[in-house]
Amino acid sequence: MFGWCGKILRINLSAGKIGVEELDANVCRDYVGGRGLGIYYLLKEVDPSCDPLATKNIMIMTTGPLTGTVAPTGARYMVTTKSPLTGAITCSNSGGYFPAELKKTGYDAIIFEGKSPQPVYLWIDGDQAELRSAQNIWGMTTHEADDALRKETHKKAKTSVIGPAGEKLVRFAAIMNDRDRAAGRSGVGAVMGSKNLKGFVVRGRQEVSLFDPEGFTAVNNKYRDKFKKATKDNPPPLRLHGTAITVVGTQSHGVFPTRNFQQGTFEGWQSIYGETLTKKYLIRRKPCFSCPISCGRVTRIPDGPFKGEGEGPEYETVYSLGSDCGVDNLAALTKANYVCNELGLDTISMGSAIACAMELFEKGYLDESEIGMPLKWGDGQAVVTLARQTGLREGFGDILAEGSLRMATKYGHPELAIVAKGQDFAGYDPRGEQGMGLAYATSPIGASHMRGDPAYFELLGVPFNVDPLTWKDKPPIVAKWQDVFAVIDSAGLCVFFTVRYLLEPTLEARPIGIMELLNAATGVGYTLEELEKAGERIVNAERLYLKRAGFSRKDDSLPPRITNEPLPDGPAKGMVCHLDEMLEAYYKIRGWSADGIPTEKKLRALGLIEM
C-alpha cells in the first residue's frame, strides 16, 4: 500500500494486550482515512446504546493518507469515539507534530478497547508498541506529563496526553498533543481518562511511502507555488494575526456571540482581537507540520495578575472565554486559555458553560452561595478561577464540568444552554448567519463550525461572500460543504490551506487538489465523483450511527433563543434562524426521510447497506 501504511494497532487495555491487524484496501479507498476510518470502526464495533464512559466504548485514533507527507498541512489526526458530552459521535481533530510522527510509526490507526486496571501510557518506538505504567504521571498537567514522558522515552518523541480534567472525567475534557494542540471537542479526553490511559508517546522511524513520488512533488509544488504567489505581497491574515483576526469578520457582520448569545456585537472587541494580540502578547508564530501558513501563536503575559506563557488564544477561545462572558481583558482570557491547555479542557465548552452560568446568575436562577463568588459579566478573574476549578472538579467547577446543558437543566433553565445535541456553539451566531444554523443543527457531533464551515462563504470571503442572512439558498451549499469537509478530515489535511487552495473556488467546492494529491500518494486513481461520494458516504455513515443511538429530526434543533428571539443589535438585528425551513430542503437533498434518517435507497447507493 502507498499513502496508507496498511496496518492498525489494536490495544486491549483490560488484558494489556497489543495486536496488529491489516487494513483492508477497499475500506481505505471507500473511507479515505482519518474521520472516515473512525466512523467505519465506530459503526462496526461500538454499541450505539453504550455509556460513553463505560468499558464497552472504544477510542479510535486515525491518521489520513496525506498525514505525515509533505502535502501542505498534512498534519492532522482524528479521535473518534462516543461522546460523554452528547451521547452522539465525536470525532475531534488536531494538528501539530504528533500526528505526522504517529503516521511514521507505520500505523494508520490505533484502537483502544476496554479499561486498564492501572494508569498506563502507550509508547510506540518505530513499529514496536508497549504499555507502560503511568502511576507516576497520573495527576500531572499536560505540560508536566509531556516533559516526564519524553524524559522516560526519547527527547524527540511526540506526545498526546490528558490532563487532570480527562482523569476526572470532565465531560468536555480534551486530548492535548505537542503540549498545546487540542483534539478538543465533545469530551474525548474523558473517554481516555475512563480507560485509565494517560497518554501516547510516539517516535516515527519511517517515511510515508508514496505511489508516485515525482508526481506527488509536482502536485505539491503546484499548490505551494499558487499559495506563494497569492501571498507574496499580501501575507495571509492567519499568519499575521492568528485565527483571532476572525473577530473582524464576525463583529462586522453582527454575529460575534456576546454574553451567552444575548447580543451579536461586543463593544470591547478591539481589546481582544487578533491585531491586539499581535501588538501586546505575541512572542512568535508556531506552525504545524508541513504548514506554509503558521497560524499558531506563542504568547506571553509579561506581568500582572494574569502573568504566564503558553499558546493561544485562537478565535474560538477569544469568543468563548472573551465576548461570550463579556470579558474584554485579553490578558485574563489568555490566562484562562493557558489554564485550559494545562488541565486539558476544551476552551469552547469551558467558556460557554461559564457564560451560561453568568446568565443564570444574572437572572437570579443561580445563587452566589452556590458559586462561591458573584459571577458578573466581564469578570476575567472569575473566568480564570472557574476554568481551574472545572479542570480539577473543585467547588462550583464540579457542576460546570458536567457541561452547560446539564448545569442549566439542574437550575431549571435548559433553554439558556446554547447548544445543539448538547454541544456548545462555536463563535458564530446563526441568526445572522443562516447556513451556520443548519450546519450546527445537522453536524454529527453537535454544534460545530468544522463540519462544513459556512463562515467561509457567509462571512470570510472564501471563495467569495454570499448573503449570510438568506436561508433558502443554503441547504444545497451546506450539504456540499459538509461532504467535502469529510474528505478533508479523512485525507489528513487542515482546512485552512485546503479551502482556499485545494478546492475549486466555487460554492460546489470540488476537491480537485485533494484528489491530485491523493492519487499521487496512493495510486488509487480516485475520480472527483468517487472522492465526493466518499465524503457523502462518511456523512451518511455518521448519520446511521446517530440513528442507532436514538437521534432523529427532533435532535437537529437549536435553542429557542436562536430560532425565536430576534437578534437585538448589529447588522443582523431583528433576525432569527430559519432552521425548520432549511431542514425540510436539506433532508430532501440528502435523500433522507422527513425524520432525517438515510433511506434504504441512499444507503444502498453509498454501499452502506451491509453496515
Binding site: 462586522s252 501558513i293 462555536a426 463563535g427 470570510l460
Partner: protein, 77 residues
C-alpha cells in the same frame, strides 16, 4: 460626503495613517470603486467589503456617514 473606513490585516498598508479607522471625504454619488481607487488598493486584491455590516460590490453607491469595513479573505476561524 464623509465616510468612515476601517482596514484590517494586510490591507492596513493602504490606510493614510497608522490607525485602523479613518474618515474619507468623497464626492456625492461616489461608489465603492471610487473609494478603492482613492485608497490605491489594487483592483486585483481579493477583499470582503461591508457597508454598515452588509455585503457591498464595487458598484455599490456610498452615502453620508456610511461605515465601511474592508478585510482580506480569512481562510479559517
Amino acid at each position: 460626503m464623509k465616510i468612515q473606513i476601517s482596514l484590517y490585516a494586510n490591507l492596513r498598508q493602504y490606510a493614510p495613517g497608522s490607525a485602523e479607522s479613518f474618515e474619507l471625504e468623497l464626492a456625492a454619488g461616489a461608489t465603492v470603486k471610487t473609494m478603492i481607487d482613492r485608497l490605491k488598493i489594487p483592483q486585483t486584491l481579493k477583499m470582503v467589503i461591508l457597508i454598515n455590516g452588509r455585503k457591498a460590490d464595487t458598484d455599490t453607491r456610498l452615502a453620508e456617514e456610511d461605515k465601511i469595513t474592508i478585510f482580506p479573505p480569512i481562510e479559517g476561524g
